[in-house]
Symmetry: C2
Subunit: 215 residues, 2 copies
């Protein structure tokens, strides 16, 4: 797997050490303008796997296979198949014993993220996972301004329910800045989303101990 | 989803209540002779999902799509695609916050389970998952005698390493009876493997608290 290089900028070693202290990074530093969000996430998952940090994979696109040919001395060829609708989100895996489950979405919009990018079956799957105490979220990219956010599933679901009940059609960027976690591109992994997962895990533990103290 | 009925035997309500007390069940009671292990596991997963007990899905077969046709007023048709090798096991999901990961295998053998039914990439994936504290196992079916076993991944991996080091080719049935957990077909779910997962979770907690006491 080729390691990508920043867009023309030279990579400064101190930049990576300072990364954690930087509140805001220039979004252009490490982003791959031509690469899709999916490519960046897949590459990040490969980085995490190679470092034995997490085991996260994209689920293959489900297809309904109708006809397969078996030529002699050649690999089997699928000659007719149809796309099936997935019943889950695209990504899941394990990180320090926790089940992670997430979806990746992009928009060309500059100021708000359309809720129609999500589908009922994905929302339903997230609800089912949350009921089983999964760590569940979405990674959302504003492609035209190259900004990335991680939004917890329970927050997305609240917006989704507003869509159905109050006609809300999108999530404004300002609300993502407030209710989500901005992600900054890195070199390796390209999208260090586990850094935010660490925060979510911390949050859930302190919530548990708060409840404990109240008893 | 049609609910299957036992092979010709009338279903006695008391049978289900007594099920937990029975050490040994007649393997033929609820088995679906014609159904594959995969079908039975998929049906069990659907049962668990419908009862909000766990969210477990089979991963779709990965295919490399080369050519797609887009006929007017019809669904897209995949005209050329190839099977890709999966890099993971077939099943994963979440149960009470735990990440579950497993593979399903069948053999016609009566007395031992061939290790060649497993593949290096599956074993590697299991090792990676165990390193992240996943609950990882295989469900193995002896089709000709209709018996099912759940074997923890770490035990399978030990046998696999023996295969490479000492030429071991299969796991004898007696050792599965000893080192694995026999599963008995039910009505709904057909294969109640979460009952064994509960035992594995208990085991891991008592191991933790034992380690704790020793400090």
């Amino acid at each position: 797997m080729a390691i990508g290089y920043p867009n023309g900028k030279s990579y400064s070693h101190s930049a990576e050490n300072n990364k954690k202290n930087q509140v805001k990074k220039t979004a252009h530093s490490f982003s791959k303008r031509g690469m899709s969000l999916e490519d960046d996430i897949n590459a990040s998952n490969e980085t995490y796997l190679s470092r034995n940090k997490a085991v996260i994979h994209k689920k293959p696109t489900p297809v309904q296979i109708v006809q397969v040919d078996y030529p002699k001395r050649s690999a089997a060829v699928i000659k007719e198949a149809y796309f099936r609708q997935a019943s889950t989100t695209d990504y899941n895996g394990v990180y320090q014993g926790f089940y992670l489950d997430f979806e990746a979405k992009e928009t060309q919009n500059k100021r708000s993220f359309p809720l129609k990018n999500f589908h009922e079956h994905q929302i339903l799957h997230m609800k089912q996972c949350l009921a089983q105490q999964a760590i569940c979220f979405v990674i959302m990219r504003f492609t035209s301004v190259n900004r990335l956010f991680l939004l917890e599933a329970r927050v997305l679901i609240d917006y989704w329910d507003l869509k159905n009940n109050e006609g809300r059609k999108s999530i404004p960027l300002e609300e993502l800045e407030k209710n989500g976690y901005e992600l900054y591109y890195g070199l390796s992994p390209r999208i260090p989303f586990l850094d935010v997962v660490d925060v979510l895990i911390e949050k859930s533990f302190s919530k548990e101990s708060n409840n404990h103290d109240k008893r």
